[in-house]
Symmetry: C2
């Protein structure tokens, strides 16, 4: 229960309709896509940076925890008020402030939907590449807080490559600006890129300056089927060896394909004997795309692809991508609950990762379909469980730990896109040393001396 004078102060700052304490709101804003959370004690909807700063200052003064929230599409509980307190929902701060074609940048408020920004900049021939699967729901602010990736990261990099500057409210209430409208700036420490991916634990991001690039005029999509995951990974290496940089390089394994086929009610989505497919996009000028597509096809054939399809027009491109788009939903039809882990290994070690998951499947008797961004070595490992099977869930949790330890042993990372939040916090010491964690906690204290901003996240409690 919040102190009444804090509630009064919040109402005075944002107005009565923008402070919510009804049960439904407290519960709704208490969870995200992870579907495990803790109810908020109040939800506040500030209209601008100045209101955010005042809300934060009030919470700090009362030593009440507060958590910034975008669209709540995160998979690790990053936006959840784990220790109660105030959820600062940025949903009213959702304007595209500027699209600057001369300087190839955009200035946005945090709650602009990523897909909306993409549509807006593509209308003037520009391109904002990061494409998390959630892009039609998730917000730029959330993408920045988590450093969202997506299929196009192989060629274009993740969100961090596009953030030039930020405006943010410190947990003590001061408003700072980091970076700016210039692509080069080495004045002081790079706080911009410290805030990107800090999961809302260091500051509340209130404005974002994004770098844009020219929109590639032409895309082509290819789909190649392979009789083994090893062949598919060999094709990835062969494509890279032939110096093509596809915009996307998605890998889908046989178990995932089966789930999609079942969901779509078709017998099969690929030729008989297919154990893995690759979906590849190449983009650029018409001539370069044609050359690259030829080289991709030749590379796939050279390593023994069963079949290579090339889309002849936009409708065929959409058709080839359909399997990938249907994946998440199809897997939910297999079992309603999945633990989706976005582990990442150096791409040359993907076959070792698949071998590791094979051993885990057998040892823990679990269904674990795999798909993901093969170009980055970023593979989504989906541990499928029935929500009412406590024993299976127990095995799944044991399997997770073995997976994470194995990934780190392969010079990989336990999260390439989703972050740590609170769900992965217990596993942080698998990847980071005590000295590294202790340094990060000191950095956190430098920003947030009373540990009020989004407590319980990232670090094991």
């Amino acid at each position: 229960m919040l102190p009444p004078d804090l509630l009064d102060a919040l109402v005075a700052i944002v107005g009565e309709p923008n402070v919510r304490i009804d049960e439904a709101s407290l519960v709704t804003y208490g969870t995200d896509a992870l579907k495990r959370g803790h109810p908020a004690e109040a939800v506040v909807l500030p209209a601008d940076t100045s209101q955010v700063a005042k809300v934060v200052a009030q919470c700090a003064e009362h030593r009440v925890p507060f958590v910034p929230r975008g669209a709540g599409t995160g998979y690790t509980g990053g936006a959840v008020p784990l220790h109660g307190g105030v959820v600062i929902s940025l949903e009213r701060m959702n304007r595209i402030l500027e699209i600057d074609e001369a300087n190839l940048l955009a200035v946005v408020e945090p709650n602009v939907i990523t897909g909306d920004l993409q549509t807006a900049v593509e209308a003037v021939g520009l391109f904002y590449p990061p494409d998390p699967a959630s892009l039609h729901m998730s917000t730029i602010g959330g993408n920045v807080a988590e450093c969202a990736g997506g299929p196009r990261a192989f060629k274009y990099g993740t969100t961090k490559q596009y953030v030039l500057g930020l405006e943010a409210v410190l947990p003590t209430g001061e408003v700072i600006e980091t970076g700016g409208k210039v692509v080069k700036n080495v004045v002081g420490y790079d706080l911009t890129h410290l805030l990107v991916g800090s999961e809302g634990t260091l500051a509340v991001i209130t404005k974002i300056i994004l770098r844009l690039v020219p929109k590639p005029p032409v895309q082509a999509t290819l789909r190649a089927s392979f009789k083994s995951v090893e062949d598919a990974v060999a094709a990835v290496s062969e494509v890279i060896r032939r110096r093509v940089v596809p915009a996307t390089l998605e890998l889908i394994d046989g178990e995932s394909l089966e789930a999609v086929a079942k969901n779509l009610g078709v017998r099969s989505l690929a030729p008989p004997g297919t154990a893995a497919i690759l979906l590849l996009d190449v983009d650029g000028s018409a001539q370069a795309v044609a050359e690259d597509a030829d080289r991709v096809e030749a590379a796939c054939v050279a390593v023994g692809a069963i079949e290579v399809l090339r889309a002849k027009h936009e409708a065929e491109r959409a058709e080839l991508w359909r399997v990938r788009r249907e994946l998440s939903l199809s897997l939910k039809m297999v079992t309603p609950l999945k633990f989706n882990h976005d582990v990442v290994v150096p791409k040359g070690r993907i076959p070792e990762l698949f071998a590791l998951v094979s051993r885990i499947r057998d040892a823990y008797r679990l269904r674990i379909p795999l798909f993901g961004h093969a170009g980055d070595g970023n593979i989504h490992v989906n541990i499928m469980v029935m929500p009412d099977d406590a024993e299976e869930i127990e095995r799944a949790h044991e399997a997770e730990k073995v997976l994470f330890e194995g990934v780190v042993a392969l010079e990989g990372s336990i999260s390439g896109e989703h972050g740590i939040g609170f769900s992965k916090a217990p596993f942080l010491p698998i990847e980071l040393s005590p000295d590294e964690i202790s340094l990060m906690k000191r950095v956190k204290l430098a920003f947030d001396p009373h540990n009020l901003l989004n407590p319980g996240k990232m670090f094991p409690e």
Copy 2:
């Protein structure tokens, strides 16, 4: 004078020949390219990370300041032991440990010369794009500490875009690893990119994992002459509007051209009436390069270029770039001393920057040739002075301050490449607010509780 037991301890760690206390060494390692410094009290040359950690621990125990040093090519005094103490020269840690073609990465020790790494990776068809002017002398470690840029940053980004992971020694002696061999990693705070550009004030970098890209097979170079800087900048905008992304987009003004012509003993390097030239490289596949070069030429002609030259072969490319390469030396022939400021503005505001410099030239009666990376808005403002003219130097220092204030008013930054070091530290408050500086100092303390690592840098004392 260092405590004798510290000296003994240093000798015990690295061996007698690798601790230098002779006068010549103390003076040599006490300056860098800025040519203002402070003598070291000892110079230590560790062989590996473990020795660096022990040296740091000893200095920390004795509360003696220590400063890491690469090649000493910095322009802002970053490697200078301003408060005395121990210079840790990383010159013996100069091996390329790994070039991993499958995963497109290299692992290097800090003192690998940037140009040597480029040669090594290009031999296997790969590419490390950052190209600071000092690349044949400066080291990757120094480039990372300063976040070095260079002409190719317009298309390829600066050093930070290529650093995947670091090994570093904290000022308290612990060895940490940040990031790793994967291109995506969102586990914990992004300390990698906090260390990049931190100017050796947060940790001593001992190993670097760098991302590589495929080497573009073909380059083309064009040179366009314009009757005004405004026309040259209009050409830059027109090139971008036509959605070409040149690898480099260098702008050189008339005063700089004159200096080079004089130095080379020729009457002129460009057609009569030239006030500015642009040097443009485009790279990629043969077909894409041919198309892009046509579009660049058309863009320059469209805004009224006096002349556009296109190199027909490698020798002509070198000839077109000769002016740019001769620039620094030629300006030194004009006056032996120049204050070289790497200011940066959003590129659409370059004409306003040139107008600002014009006003400064008149008001302070100074020669200020301009050249730089027009695509990034990163312009080198060279304030030319005679070293024995105290009154002129005084005017130059007044002009600097006006320049920096003007640049920040243009939404720019006082340094795009060279960093702050100690020479620009007094100007930090022009760009950063007291809250921002105070936060950065708290971050510094989180790493370096006794302010022993490279003290006197970045922040005004």
